[in-house]
Symmetry: C2
Subunit: 259 residues, 2 copies
């Protein structure tokens, strides 16, 4: 028996007939068919506001300097954030897993999705003294996180020697800096490459592959990022000498070596 879980899918593509919309649909159907609950934040359909500004904090006095960290922390603690932010924070709290479905634009998320991250992951909600520490327990600990990304380029260009950078490294700011920072357990990203033109047959293959990943959403081993409190880092948050496997450098330093 599969345990009933709650999944939040956040998607950002301007075209409802896009591959991204189709993949969000695949996930919604597949997960519901497995008995899970699914909510979708379709940022384009929601006309999501992407800019952090004073309107996010209804109590903010206009003559006061908008120090984003401080002001967002105060507003979060006081429960005085704009309603669209509160609604997304509630979805995150409700969820057992979060899926970000997006087209890779300029080696990152579309602006609307960045605006969802910037505005929803407020100080004292996603990090800060009022919540558990980052890179370990985390404010959103206990949740899984999956990136499902469509990429125009072909796969070799995102391989370990690919010119665009290894996919895991390009996504490090999200996998490690967003998910793992807030305590979520990031899974290996699911990527569909070569998406300039996707014939039916290739879409069917991608759909099957994605289906298999979705079936294992709660059983796949997450990326083994190191815990900040696990004894691997010094007080300046630097990895201690000798902790990593020989020959490892860059973002891979922060992944625990396999036994």
């Amino acid at each position: 028996m599969t345990q009933h879980k709650k999944i939040l899918i956040v998607t950002a593509h301007p075209e409802p007939r896009s591959l991204n919309a189709a993949l969000a649909g695949v996930a919604t159907e597949r997960l519901r068919a497995a008995g899970h609950e699914v909510r979708v934040s379709d940022l384009y359909a929601m006309k999501w506001k992407s800019a952090v500004d004073a309107d996010d904090f209804p109590d903010h006095a206009l003559d006061r300097r908008l120090d984003v960290l401080a002001v967002s922390g105060e507003a979060t603690r006081a429960g005085r954030l704009s309603p669209d932010i509160v609604a997304e924070q509630e979805k995150l709290r409700w969820s057992d897993a979060v899926i970000l479905q997006f087209p890779m634009w300029w080696f990152s998320v579309p602006a609307l999705l960045k605006g969802w991250i910037d505005r929803v992951f407020t100080f004292e909600f996603a990090h800060g003294p009022a919540v558990p520490p980052p890179y370990s327990e985390g404010a959103l600990g206990g949740r899984r996180a999956l990136i499902s990304v469509t990429i125009g380029a072909r796969e070799p260009s995102f391989s370990d020697r690919g010119i665009h950078g290894q996919l895991e490294h390009v996504l490090y700011p999200l996998q490690h800096g967003l998910f793992w920072f807030t305590g979520m357990a990031p899974l290996e990203p699911f990527a569909v490459y070569d998406t300039i033109d996707v014939p039916q047959e290739r879409f069917a293959t991608a759909k099957r592959a994605y289906g298999r990943r979705l079936d294992r959403l709660f059983t796949d081993e997450p990326v083994a990022f190191r815990s900040l409190d696990g004894g691997d880092y010094d007080h300046d948050m630097r990895l201690l000498p000798g902790v990593h496997a020989p020959g490892t450098s860059g973002p891979d330093l922060h992944v625990r070596p396999r036994d």
Copy 2:
């Protein structure tokens, strides 16, 4: 005699009294005092629209699927992009150097700046068959590019062993994926750390350091990213075996070793 140059500063912070606004001001003054021309795109002041959508392409038929790459390429070739995009493309073409001034939010640019990138760097303007090839000559070749970023965390956490990732790796999607991809010569980023609270004295130090970097904007050696057409990559855009220095991995593979 300094040669007269043209610099575009793009900045994105909601608070006109912010450190970011101050640094944009420092750059504007310093560069003008040196005899250069400066234009500033202050994205919050401009109320920049960050979402790529059908409104960007006035000729786009609403019953047609919005395939972003194809539609933006056609609109670019036809000279039929929305006027706000055209204005920014003209500034980029006008410029000899581009400075992005921003606070690091979630290990990347604020959503408004991502929206400037997503919307302005259209297909057939920034890359594509109609312009010179990427990672070498590039659509915007001949220009220099500088990131000036403010970071709440302290510097060691962004060092080579820092938990957040080495700054150069965190910024790889911009330095290599945006600037170098389009042929711009990226300089080492300028970063001010520990910006939760910046006393006057520390601001004065940062201002002096930034001033020195600005004075060398056209003379500093850019990051030595490898050219795609330099014989280092195979036809699948993978770095050839044996080309890199021993012990190098990850994003550093794509930087030419020093002699």
